[in-house]
């Protein structure tokens, strides 16, 4: 069985796509969940987190960066891909300082949700414990770089939507880190505003709006109520229908 001119096969299930759509967008819209972190429906494909790694007609690919095309047979939920995703999530955990029980993003955090989704039980690797000071200088927004996963969504939102370029990713390799566009390097000295798109795109707890942290109690938050796999496909289907 193979797809048609307007469908691809994802784990042997036909999924329709529109011309120009990526495999990931077609999948989500068709109700098939492919894990992802750096992808955001309102932004161009980025392709850095690699959680959406799939196999397309025998070749490795990122579902967020590859266009859907007739004849594609996409493997998503195979044992080895599932294991890779879990390892990638573990890598993100040990690279930063992620302590879910004490994090006010708990329950709303995509990294945490993906840890559950990938059945991660422990961080597995030796923690790197990097030293990453927090930036509390802004009156309305806290930056906690300990939890940054370098998806660059804030960089993209601030540059492309807000037109401010408040954030940039600097450095190389494990030394990569977010920097802030002000002489002091502090967010409080920028024109960043809580109304900016960039204040609301962080998939983890690196950019936190002050004074609303526990307005929704833990236990009643987005991923407390339903797993990310269901939440993401429900939202995508809602968005396009």
């Amino acid at each position: 069985m193979s797809g048609t001119d307007t469908t691809i096969l994802i784990d042997e299930v036909p999924v329709p796509f529109r011309p120009g759509q990526t495999i990931l967008d077609a999948a989500l819209e068709g109700g098939v969940y492919i894990p992802h972190l750096c992808h955001h429906p309102e932004f161009e494909p980025h392709g850095s987190c690699k959680l959406c790694s799939v196999v397309v007609n025998g070749r490795n690919a990122s579902a967020c960066a590859m266009k859907a095309a007739p004849g594609q047979e996409v493997e998503v939920d195979t044992p080895d891909l599932h294991a890779y995703r879990r390892t990638l999530v573990q890598m993100l955990f040990v690279e930063g300082n992620h302590f879910c029980p004490g994090c006010e993003k708990s329950g709303d955090c995509q990294l945490q949700a993906l840890a559950y989704d990938s059945e991660m039980m422990t961080p597995h690797f030796v923690e790197f414990y990097p030293r990453r000071p927090v930036d509390a200088s802004h009156p309305d927004v806290l930056l906690d770089f300990n939890r940054c996963i370098q998806c660059e969504l804030c960089v993209r939102a601030s540059r492309d939507v807000d037109g401010k370029s408040v954030f940039a990713l600097a450095g190389r390799g494990m030394a990569s880190h977010i920097i802030v566009n002000s002489p002091s390097g502090k967010l409080g000295d920028t024109n960043f505003s809580v109304a900016d798109k960039a204040a609301h795109v962080c998939p983890v707890g690196a950019i936190l709006i002050k004074r609303v942290g526990f307005a929704t109690p833990i236990g009643e938050r987005r991923y407390d109520l339903e797993p990310i796999s269901e939440e993401a496909t429900r939202c995508a289907v809602g968005e396009f229908k």
Partner: protein, 594 residues
């Protein structure tokens, strides 16, 4: 402030063009020694870019400094071939003599000493860079002399010129290295063939890219020509960063006319009027000679408008210098770097032939490929395809280094056996050959009858020989450190995975590794291969996988018998506490009583 005025002048000389940022930073640093926050801000405001953009570029490239690094910035090349020639002993010796620690700047601000990735002088190492100028053939005596010169504050321009002598070391020459080339002859031959005729010869030649991937060159040129758009670019990839490779350095030293003519011919066929050479920062010494060569070619009408008098054949070349980033050898990262950004690989497709430099159709070819294109122009495609093998036409230049008596360049028709190369370079009792660098393949004696060719053992050119006494575990560990240092950090598997590979090998080296670490290494290597964004990550696990498969005893003698030894070293974890307490007695150590 004088420095800021200088910076503005530098920016204006480059037309205040933000895509020239990397070149401007490099020039600013050559003047000022480092990029201070004031310099960065002055640059950003003059160029009209966010200050964070300047910062992110400075922090990405190893040879740009956002902190003072001393008037003398000494970097020892840390390829395994340098190590085999005793580089680490010399490095330690210099640190000791100048009373410094690695990476530290001396209190008087005079000097800093550190390590850097392979500088492409493997045939004449141990090598170093002093303020980005290549120093070759280091000896204990030369290191002592350098220390004296640093202490006396002698300007580098007054250092003995023989320190900076770089040899070609051509040991076996063939079509490219051996022929006496008449400048302009390939250009005139191409013009005589016409644009389509030259492309047809390229197709007949079956010339494939010499940078390692082996893509058919004529397909690239034709795709670029056929891509929609008014402007096109030819990029010469001279970011020869693969440890153990140095052939492009020699081509650009002594055969630059062929390389530039090859670029112009590519432009002629693809319809591009502008070429860019991306020259790795380690080859800074080649910049002025190459600029002079281009000037001479312009005078001789071999560059510029109406090349060789041919109406409408306009082509000229700019040279961009890199600044210490192996990843810029990847073509899309290279293009990002040419545009003045951190060199991070793009999502492909689209490929550069349709969306390349400044979003325009761009051919990116290796230095050697472009030189080979002049052979096709001169002798025709059929003649070219007649040499080498069916799938690998023409000759290939190998950079031979390591345990052999005659390191240097060897040009062979494709298909040469590994054992033939070993014989020719004077290597005996060979345990292994690393072909095509750390991202390539490790061959053992039972494989020495294999052929250098795209269909058997493909290579970008590196050929590092390891004798029986060498420790292949340490080779793999050196390569793992290299990849962790050079990972651009864009994608999760490579950014974190290369660091995990490095740390697991270090743990084994410390005698604390077990079979657990081996399993982890193999699992990580497979993950990197399957999920990394580009070739760097995809191949970063190869050395450890090859070494484990082929040199198992080198690992096993280091492994502990138990299932697992915790990564956390409790005694080491107390180091800081001991420092604070000012203690180092036996009772301040865990396990002291045992």
């Amino acid at each position: 402030m004088a420095a800021e005025t200088d910076v503005v002048a530098l920016v204006l000389r480059r037309r205040a063009d933000p895509t020239q940022l990397l070149q401007i930073l490099r020039e600013a640093q050559e003047e000022l020694g480092w990029i201070s926050p004031e310099t960065a801000r002055a640059l950003a405001s003059t160029l009209g870019v966010p200050a964070t953009h300047v910062e992110s570029v400075v922090q990405f490239y190893s040879f740009l400094y956002d902190k003072p690094r001393g008037r003398y910035r000494i970097l020892f090349s840390d390829n395994i071939t340098d190590r085999m020639l005793g580089s680490l002993t010399l490095f330690e010796h210099m640190l000791k003599r100048l009373k410094l620690r690695q990476g530290e700047v001396s209190p008087d601000g005079a000097v800093s000493i550190d390590l850097t990735s392979c500088t492409g002088m493997c045939d004449q190492g141990p090598a170093a860079l002093v303020n980005n100028r290549a120093v070759t053939r280091l000896t204990a005596r030369r290191v002592d002399e350098m220390c004296d010169l640093v202490r006396a504050g002698v300007s580098i321009s007054d250092w003995p010129s023989n320190y900076f002598r770089v040899e070609d070391n051509i040991r076996r020459a063939d079509a490219i290295l051996g022929s006496r080339y008449a400048p302009g002859s390939a250009l005139r031959a191409a013009i005589a063939l016409g644009r389509q005729g030259m492309l047809d010869e390229m197709k007949r030649s079956n010339l494939r890219g010499r940078g390692g991937a082996g893509f058919t060159t004529s397909v690239k040129w034709e795709s670029c020509r056929n891509a929609p758009g008014a402007e096109r670019y030819i990029v010469c990839n001279a970011d020869e960063g693969e440890p153990g490779t140095f052939k492009d350095r020699v081509l650009l030293t002594s055969y630059a006319d062929r390389v530039f003519e090859g670029m112009a011919i590519a432009g002629f066929v693809a319809g591009a009027a502008r070429g860019l050479v991306y020259l790795r920062g380690e080859y800074r010494h080649l910049l002025e000679p190459l600029e002079a060569k281009l000037d001479a070619m312009r005078r001789d009408r071999l560059m510029g408008a109406g090349i060789c008098g041919a109406q409408g054949f306009d082509f000229d070349v700019d040279i961009h210098l890199g600044a210490g980033a192996y990843i810029c050898g990847e073509e899309s990262a290279l293009i990002e770097s040419l545009e003045g950004k951190p060199g991070k690989p793009r999502i492909r497709p689209p490929f550069p032939v349709t969306v390349g430099y400044l979003g325009k159709p761009t051919v990116v070819d290796n230095v050697e490929t472009l030189a080979q294109a002049t052979e096709v122009a001169l002798h025709g495609g059929r003649m070219f395809a007649g040499r080498g093998t069916k799938h690998s036409a023409g000759t290939k230049i190998l950079s031979v280094s390591g345990d052999c008596s005659r390191p240097g360049l060897y040009e062979y028709p494709f298909g040469v056996r590994v054992e033939q190369v070993l014989k020719d370079c004077g290597a005996s009792d060979v345990a292994a050959v690393q072909v095509s660098g750390p991202s390539g393949v490790c061959l053992t004696p039972d494989e020495f009858r294999r052929h250098i060719a795209f269909e058997d053992v493909p290579t970008a050119g590196a050929f590092m020989v390891f004798g029986m006494e060498r420790d292949l575990f340490e080779v793999a560990r050196n390569f793992a450190h290299f990849f962790a240092h050079e990972s651009c950090g864009f994608c999760t598997p490579c950014r974190v995975g290369t660091a995990l590979l490095r740390d697991a090998l270090d743990k084994i080296a410390e005698g604390r590794g077990s079979r657990y670490e081996i399993n982890e290494l193999m699992r990580l290597a497979e993950l990197l291969r399957r999920t990394s964004h580009c070739g760097l990550g995809q191949t970063a696990g190869n050395p450890v996988r090859d070494a484990w498969a082929k040199f198992r005893p080198a690992f096993e003698r280091r492994l502990i018998r138990g299932e697992f030894d915790p990564a956390v070293d409790l005694d080491a974890a107390l180091t800081r506490a001991r420092e604070i307490a000012g203690r180092d007695d036996a009772a301040a150590h865990i396990g002291a009583e045992a």
